[in-house]
């Protein structure tokens, strides 16, 4: 019923608009053909351009300046400082070009709007001008390219030897995270070994897998280098953590990685923001299906000593799921039980 009323209302509004249009057109015809070449609308349009320029620029500067804390997330990684710096330099340079060109673009129509006694200036080309605005952008861009390139090379370089290695696996629609355990080495994994419990497909034939643990949150130590080893097992996902200026796709069949150095612990950030509930979040940023918008995981940045303590407290996955001892080759079972900290004998 309400739909019908809405439809009828819409129809009436349209009918009225068309009637008004018709009347003005007929009036125009009754008044006779316009004599002059360009009507008064020309000046009106020219003035609106100026108004748009002033109001638009006003809004742009006002919002960009006042809302900076809303759109600029506080930074929590070492390389992010470089990225942010690049961003702001690019913003300043492009901002100047933006403002200048838009001012010219909107004031010229006003200044040079049609006047009957005017004649346009026949100015088909000017090599000096054209050369200037080819070369100047080229030089400015070279500067941006060079600084961008240096940052890129640093950020994507090999992770330092001492990095904490953390495996992150994306699947529809969750993350799983694995640490190397007491030997600090991640064991092998294979997608063919995945089952309901062993969601990461850990291969227990590999000795270094026995002490691996799978926590419910990602913990990383402040000030140390951390390398995310990234995998996916069904479709492409993307590991994105905006506070760390960190993003890397998780691709089935092609392991990827990203290393960074966290600079502010979760507690530091809570103090900085005055928000006692703040948490760093891991976000999926590549369309992956129905639950794409809900793939959240918490990243906790600890002080290094807290991190070591937390690390030591974690129980190996094998200990939590002792049934999987049966998947360990017989000759390794004893060792596995010891390294996973499983007490008593197994059959």
């Amino acid at each position: 019923m309400s739909g019908l009323v809405l439809g009828l209302g819409l129809f009436l509004v349209l009918a009225i608009l068309i009637a008004i249009f018709r009347v003005t057109t007929l009036l125009g015809i009754a008044k006779g053909e316009r004599k002059e070449r360009v009507g008064s609308s020309n000046t009106v349009n020219a003035i609106i351009f100026i108004l748009f320029l002033i109001v638009g620029m006003g809004l742009f500067f006002w919002y960009t300046i006042t809302a900076v804390d809303d759109y600029h997330l506080p930074l929590a990684s070492a390389h992010g400082a470089v990225t942010d710096n690049l961003f702001w330099w690019t913003t300043i340079i492009t901002g100047i070009v933006f403002v200048l060109t838009q001012i010219l673009l909107f004031t010229f129509p006003y200044i040079y709007r049609f006047k009957d006694d005017n004649k346009a200036f026949y100015f088909p080309h000017n090599n000096k001008l054209e050369l200037a605005w080819t070369v100047v952008p080229a030089i400015v861009l070279s500067g941006l390219i060079f600084s961008g390139w240096r940052a890129w090379v640093d950020i994507t370089s090999e992770a330092p030897e001492d990095s904490e290695q953390i495996e992150i696996l994306g699947y529809q629609f969750a993350w799983a995270v694995r640490y190397g355990g007491s030997d600090k080495t991640l064991g092998e994994a294979d997608f063919r070994l995945i089952d309901v419990d062993n969601r990461m497909g850990i291969d227990f034939a590999d000795k270094s897998a026995h002490d691996d643990f799978i926590p419910l949150e990602i913990h990383v130590p402040k000030g140390r280098n951390v390398e995310f080893k990234i995998r996916a097992t069904d479709v492409i996902h993307s590991v994105y953590a905006p506070h760390f200026r960190l993003q890397m796709n998780a691709v089935p069949g092609m392991p990827t990685s990203f290393w960074f150095t966290p600079t502010k612990s979760t507690t530091d950030m809570r103090e900085e923001l005055g928000d006692s509930k703040f948490n760093y979040e891991l976000v999926c940023n590549k369309i992956c299906g129905r639950g794409h918008f809900a793939m959240r995981y918490i990243i906790v940045v600890d002080e290094p000593e807290d991190y070591d303590k937390w690390y030591a407290d974690q129980q190996p996955w094998l200990k939590q799921n002792p049934d999987y001892l049966s998947k360990v080759p017989e000759e390794l079972r004893e060792v596995a039980a010891i390294s996973a900290g499983i007490e008593g004998t197994t059959d």
Binding site: D70, L73, D234, E281
Partner: protein, 604 residues
Amino acid sequence: MATTQIHPETEIHADDHHDHHHQSFVSKYIFSEDHKTIAKQFLITGIFWAIIGGGLSILFRLQLGFPDMDLTFLKPLLGKWLTPTGKLDSEFYLALVTMHGTIMVFFVLTAGLSGTFSNFLIPLQIGARDMASGFMNMLSYWFFFASSVVMFISLFIETGPASGGWTIYPPLSALPEAMSGSGLGMTLWLVSMVLFIASTLLGGINYITTVINLRTEGMSFSRLPLTIWAFLITAILGLLSFPVLFSAALLLVFDRSFGTSFYLSDIYIAGEALPNIGGSPILFQHLFWFLGHPEVYIVLLPALGITSEIISTNSRKPIFGYRAMIGSILGIAFLSFIVWAHHMFVTGMNPFLGSIFMFLTLIIAVPSAVKVFNYITTMWRGNIVFTPAMLFSIGLVSYFISGGLTGIFLGNSAIDINVHDTYFVVAHFHIVMGSASFFGMLAGVYHWFPKMFGRMMDEKLGYIHFWLSFIGIYFVFFPLHYIGLAGFPRRYYSFTNFDAFQGFTDLNMYVSIAAIVTFSAQFIFVFNFFWSMYRGRRAPENPWRSNTLEWTTPVEPGHGNWPGAIPEVHRWPYDYSKPGAKEDYIPQHIPLSETPESNLEEEH
């Protein structure tokens, strides 16, 4: 051999042939081989798709701006895609963004723009009776039509249309287990796209051949209007890049239906490990973007060509730096083939490749900057007439600047790490590629409507349409930059799950309202378009006092375009406000001998 016989008489007469014989309704309006009719077919199909594509975006903007809204009133339209509480289904949301992208990029801004204006303007502006092959031209439209039908049907099937994003990255698009839209919907998407590619290639070959072979006497390449230069280069881009999309799609079909592993490897889904080993999802991305990036310019270059023509005509000034404009089109076209991987900086591609592609990508800003400066200089000391077409062209330049500059952020791989796949990207390409090209299309319609239908569109409605659209589009897309910088990912159904994305609910609401207003304003255009077709003021022969050849044809040109001989060309198309000339324009077919008072020194 009989087939090699030459028929001199028919060849001579072909040139002077005009349209006396009666055509049936079907051969005149449906299976027409007349480039003007085909252009109108493309245009009207394009308008149809633009309304659908825009309408889909309104649906998902409702979800983003008003997440708590009860959409039960859309039940008759959406049926089971609404949850019992009147919300959009989250997978249907993805279908909406996917179809919006596909429709806008391919059906509206490729077929609707190039299909309309390349067809309409190439023969008219170069002085040809028709396209090189009218039959292929007709096929081009009907392949597009078939492609449209398949895509349209896919909107209504039970499992929903393709939903993996318009870029259809596998494995998501390859595995029906991953999402229901990857079932029949994706199959139809691929079928439709194959037909579409065939259409584009048939059209493109024709445009290229026609421009090269059928130019009238005196129409050298250095006298071609910039529109034609843009259409020619666009067609070449399409011809070189669309076959690559075809191969990408074909391999995807194999992976989906015949058990190959081009793009698939190490996959465990729906409770089982798939046997596929050794494929690479990144391969698909390379192939896709090898088309995908030139595609951006396939969409943009015709719009820039149209704008060059309109800005020059309505500033009553020659386009500034004609040769530089051609050079920049060529430069952009060449570079567009070697920048594709800037879409893939964070895919895990070798960082060294990333460096190379960053260099190449940022270079493309140079010819783009040249174009902008040349447009602005063309208006400097002009005598500017604000026709609706001129307004839309100025709007285009404004968008081209705003969106082009944000490209400098995204092309810089170090900055891209943080803004990749966020709303910053959405803002960037909607302004520079979407809105700019769309404005080029609208400018073209307003400018050449008198030639298409022999009547004028209503100016006042055109002004209202322009201001609502121009301001509206800035209100829709400019705020998205801020939302993107805050890290909001694109293609998110809802942001409530993350602490980091709790902000900007107001801004998102404003954006949605602006989108609804802007979309509604387009119906002013639709009304104006169809009304003026039948009831508009009769057009004079050369309403904009333009120099190009199409305005030398009768108000409503018949089959063959010129009733008499094809005019010869004696000058470039931009002799506006030439010092000494009586009028402020001298059309291309006027010989220099008739204008001794205004000839430049080298022209004596």
